[in-house]
């Protein structure tokens, strides 16, 4: 059963609600969180509905709306196939979960920053929050390069404003740094788009395949890749990430981690999917870059004492796993890379939110001053362990399946000796992940409870429950990977020559 204009609704409904909140926000205050959750849940249901049809072998579904055809063929097209839909759906569900989570969190944060009376701040927060979700989902569903760029920038502006308004220490400077780096990345992407337009005369993603000129193809690939590597904070472009992710409000930290990972999807969709011939040159360099980033990110994370910054740094290394999978250019590797990206954002969302909960309830970020919280906050501790299990790829959860599929791909590529070495190093590096995810758990949730933390209470259910739902998704993906692979697999394998 198809809802008419389903994907248009997915994009427009949050935008409309965001505009309405500007007018009615004053009367609702923090209840706006429920409104935001409601609209995102609605769009999630719409996408699940499409997903069921895809699961049954119907589709891909395509919707197209005219934007501007006067000079360039610019259309708003929305494509839901096996690859884009799971990505969009999971991102949307994370956004919905975080909307609930942010109700309590923002109450705490706004009170801290602006005092109790600032009801207007809820309006600001939730209206731009919804735009943010639209940006993310829009990138995943786009069929048009310009449209994709529009959504990328649409996600960037709200996150800048949020960091600037609600972030932590030195937030203005960091917001600026975040914006500039990401804007540079987007600008590189735009240059790539412009070059592609010269070759193909069209902005459609599918037209990239017609790019016959090899040297032009190389440059297009290079610019798109650099643009997204900046956004993904691979080694060499990673400077901004620990700051930006360390200091922004945790309710959107998870979502920003999603932006970082989204590069994987875009690379698969544009470069692997449409311009594989030109992209092949970049396979090995990307593989090496990914492995450097994995190891570097791992060690960087080990060195952190700050609870939030720890997870921020681990994003660098975790995102690089997905790049590793994609760089193998094998069907299994790419599918695993996308799968791992999905599982990582689920896990990272939970972990960032835990950091937020701990910060919210205790006011402490330095792990050396924390300890023994498991007795006070049993649900939070459980969640933290589950999230860490996703990140460090323990079997029943989704991370394991992602890594498993991905490493099959890496070993398939391992005919070349570099591939083999890379695979070994990457597997060894996963031990680093185990160390840096479980070590903080030991420190924060176990051991002696410092006397100053005697009065800490468990977080409210509105914060914890959404996270459990996310973990449930990760669990389903873990024991039944077919749920996602059945959608992703055919698309990826049809992309290969």
């Amino acid at each position: 059963m198809q809802v008419p204009y389903a994907m248009l609704q997915v994009i427009l409904a949050p935008v409309l609600v965001a505009f309405l909140t500007v007018f009615f926000g004053k009367y609702l205050g923090k209840k706006l969180g429920w409104v935001a959750f409601g609209v995102l849940a609605y769009t999630s249901l719409l996408m699940i509905n499409i997903g069921i049809d895809l699961w049954n072998g119907l589709g891909p579904f395509y919707e197209e709306y005219r934007w501007s055809t006067a000079i360039f063929d610019m259309k708003f097209g929305f494509l839901a196939d096996g690859l884009s839909l799971p990505v969009a759906l999971i991102m949307n569900m994370i956004c919905a979960a975080c909307a609930l989570y942010s109700i309590h969190y923002m109450e705490h944060r706004i009170e801290q920053l602006f005092g109790k009376e600032e009801r207007g701040m809820y309006t600001v927060y939730f209206s731009i929050y919804l735009l943010f979700a639209v940006g993310l989902v829009g990138v995943a569903l786009s069929t048009n390069l310009i449209q994709m760029y529009v959504f990328v920038e649409l996600a960037l502006i709200p996150s800048y404003i949020m960091i600037d308004l609600f972030g932590y220490v030195d937030r203005h400077r960091i917001a600026m740094m975040y914006f500039i780096w990401n804007h540079i990345g987007a600008a590189m992407f735009l240059i790539g788009i412009a070059l592609a337009f010269v070759g193909t005369g069209s902005f459609e993603i599918t037209a990239l395949g017609n790019l016959t000129n090899a040297s032009l193809g190389f440059w297009v690939c290079l610019f798109v890749l650099i643009g997204w590597l900046v956004k993904m904070a691979t080694f060499g472009f990673h400077v901004w990430l620990p700051y930006a992710h360390g200091e922004h409000p945790t309710s959107i930290a998870a979502i920003i981690a999603t932006i970082v990972g989204l590069g994987n999807y875009v690379i698969v969709r544009l470069l692997y999917g449409e311009m594989l011939e030109a992209f092949r040159v970049f396979g090995t360099p990307l593989l090496i870059l990914a492995i450097i980033t994995i190891v570097y990110g791992g060690f960087l994370t080990l060195a952190q004492d700050d609870f939030k910054r720890l997870y921020a740094c681990s994003t660098i290394s975790q995102t690089a796993y997905s790049i590793l999978g994609i760089a193998t250019l094998t069907t299994m590797g790419v599918a695993g890379g996308v799968f791992y990206f999905l599982s990582h954002i689920l896990g990272k969302c939970v972990l960032f939110s835990i950091a937020g909960i701990v910060l919210c309830q205790t006011g402490i970020r330095d792990m050396r001053n924390l300890g023994g919280l498991a007795r006070k906050m049993p649900l939070t501790a459980t969640l933290c362990i589950l999230g860490s299990m996703v990140l460090s790829a323990f079997p029943p959860l989704s991370g394991f399946q992602g890594e498993w599929i991905m490493f099959v791909g890496v070993f398939q590529e391992a005919g070349a000796s570099t591939g083999f070495t890379v695979a070994i190093v990457a597997i060894l590096a996963t031990f680093l992940t185990v160390v840096y995810t479980f070590w903080p758990i030991l420190k924060v949730f176990f051991g002696p409870l410092p006397p100053s933390l005697e009065n800490v209470k468990e977080a409210p259910l509105s914060m914890v429950l959404p996270l459990f739902v996310l973990m449930l998704i990760a669990f389903i993906m873990g024991i039944y990977p077919e749920s996602v692979m059945r959608l992703i697999g055919p698309v990826i394998s049809s992309m290969a020559p």
Partner: protein
């Protein structure tokens, strides 16, 4: 006599002081502002009529001074639409903005004269008419910059502006005289035909250099831009919006017109000269504002950067590039106009232009701050706002014309410009430090209405740009194809 829109503007310009005299008698000082706004609206209606005529019957002719005539094609109609549109916003905005000043009727009269000068410039079919209206625009703009004569800054800025700009005008006249000597005519069409017979000779180059310098002063091409930041920041805000948004663009229009009709015979690649100028202009225009702390100076400098983008589109020499330039002229007029009017609103409430002293004003004036932020994002070239569409068109045009380096420069500049626009937005959001800011209120409704309409245009033209693109393209074709 000079086509209905200009006639209406001139009649209203002459009668506004009389209305103002009566208005002062009956203690309704804002009446002449309303009167001049009505005049602009009527003029806009006539431009629309003209648009329909031009669209169906092609170029229209009207008599002008002596034997010369006005030739109105799509490009002229396009530019005139922008001028009058921004003029309406500025005029409505001035109703309240100037309530503390004396000589308001004269202000409105000069504003109308300036707009009619600009409209006449773009309608002109020969250099003679062009020059007369050009000077009319210049002289009234000098006076408007110096409008608040009791302060030192406007006087000094106006003097600098006057000296540089009239030297530019004289240079333009000198260049015209050489062209006249070569061809015996000043009609644009006649010149094109005559020059194609003459072929290229040294006098053509000399006159081209003189004309380009003369127009370059007015359109603030680096290194002739030094008057701009002073004049644009010292003028009253609605006039800053007019100067930055449209007066400077009249120079760009003139370069289009002269370049594509008269100088096509030149063998030297003048387009590449323009490309270099554009590169320098956009870098200077985007690097200098990084150091500014004065809000209006910052915006004025960023105008120079945008002039660079427009020249980049022009330098491609293709219909696509020219379309991009014209669209950017239109969009820049609205964006920069909105930004200057918002800055004026803050100035109206706080009496300061220093960004430090207006920290946190966004909390007290949320609507103004939101529109300001919107216009700044549009100026940065953020999608889906209108600035993005036109910058994209320019970038695409440069890439198609094998000048990809210029397109890359535009992209780099938009990144650089993001830095100072963000700094401005940040200043609005910071915690409040000053008592003056704490006591500030949202601006009056009369001033907010033009801003809201402009904000609406920024969004609508970004999401649904087709009308503007088609309009701009038909204007570009009128220039490139019709001769």
């Amino acid at each position: 006599m000079f086509s209905p829109p200009i006639d209406i503007l001139l009649i209203f310009a002459i009668t506004t002081p009389i209305i103002g005299w009566f208005a002062e008698r009956i203690k309704k000082a804002h009446m002449c502002g309303v009167y001049s706004s009505v005049g602009l609206l009527i003029s806009l209606w006539y431009i629309y009529e003209l648009f329909r005529k031009v669209a169906s019957n092609g170029t229209q002719s009207y008599p002008s001074f002596f034997s010369s005539q006005l030739r109105i094609d799509m490009l002229g109609v396009f530019m005139a639409t922008i001028f009058v549109l921004i003029g309406i916003f500025a005029s409505v905005y001035s109703l309240r903005y100037l309530e503390k000043d004396t000589g308001v009727p004269l202000f409105h009269s000069l504003l109308l004269l300036m707009i009619s000068g600009m409209v006449g410039t773009v309608f002109a079919g020969d250099f003679f008419t062009f020059f007369v209206f050009w000077e009319m625009m210049c002289i009234s703009s000098y006076t408007l910059v110096a409008f608040r004569k009791q302060r030192w800054e406007p006087i000094e800025a106006a003097f600098k502006y006057l000296i540089m700009s009239s030297a530019g005008s004289a240079t333009l006249l000198f260049g015209m005289s050489i062209l006249y000597g070569m061809c015996g005519t000043l009609n644009f069409q006649g010149l094109t035909i005559a020059l194609s017979n003459v072929g290229s000779n040294v006098w053509l180059y000399v006159s081209a250099i003189f004309i380009l310098i003369g127009l370059g002063v007015k359109s603030a091409i680096v290194p002739l831009h030094t008057w701009l930041p002073d004049a644009h920041s010292a003028a009253p805000s609605p006039i800053s919006a007019m100067l930055s948004g449209v007066v400077v663009e009249t120079g760009i229009y003139a370069i289009c017109r002269v370049g594509f009709t008269v100088l096509m015979g030149i063998e030297v690649q003048w387009l590449e000269v323009l490309a270099i100028l554009s590169l320098v202009t956009m870098f200077v225009g985007n690097l200098t504002p990084l150091l500014q702390t004065d809000l209006k100076r910052l915006l004025a400098y960023s105008s120079i950067g945008h002039i660079g983008y427009m020249l980049a589109g022009l330098a491609t020499g293709t219909v696509l590039g020219l379309t991009g330039t014209l669209m950017h002229i239109f969009n820049h007029g609205i964006m920069k106009g909105a930004a200057f009017l918002c800055a004026g609103m803050i100035l109206y409430r706080l009496e300061t232009r220093e960004m430090k002293e207006m920290a946190g004003i966004g909390r007290k004036m949320p609507v103004t701050a939101a529109i300001f932020a919107l216009s700044l994002f549009a100026l940065t070239g953020m999608p889906p706002l209108n600035g993005f569409i036109s910058e994209l068109t320019i970038i695409m045009a440069t890439v198609e014309a094998n000048m990809a380096w210029l397109g890359v420069a535009v992209i780099i500049n938009s990144v650089i410009s993001a830095a100072y626009y963000l700094r401005t937005i940040k200043a609005l959001l910071q915690p409040i430090t000053k008592k003056e800011v704490e006591e500030a209120k949202e601006g009056p409704l009369v001033m907010l209405i033009p801003l809201l309409i402009m904000a609406g245009l920024i969004v609508i033209l970004g999401i649904y740009p087709d009308i503007l693109i088609n309009f701009a393209r038909s204007a570009a074709i009128a220039l490139m194809g019709g001769g």
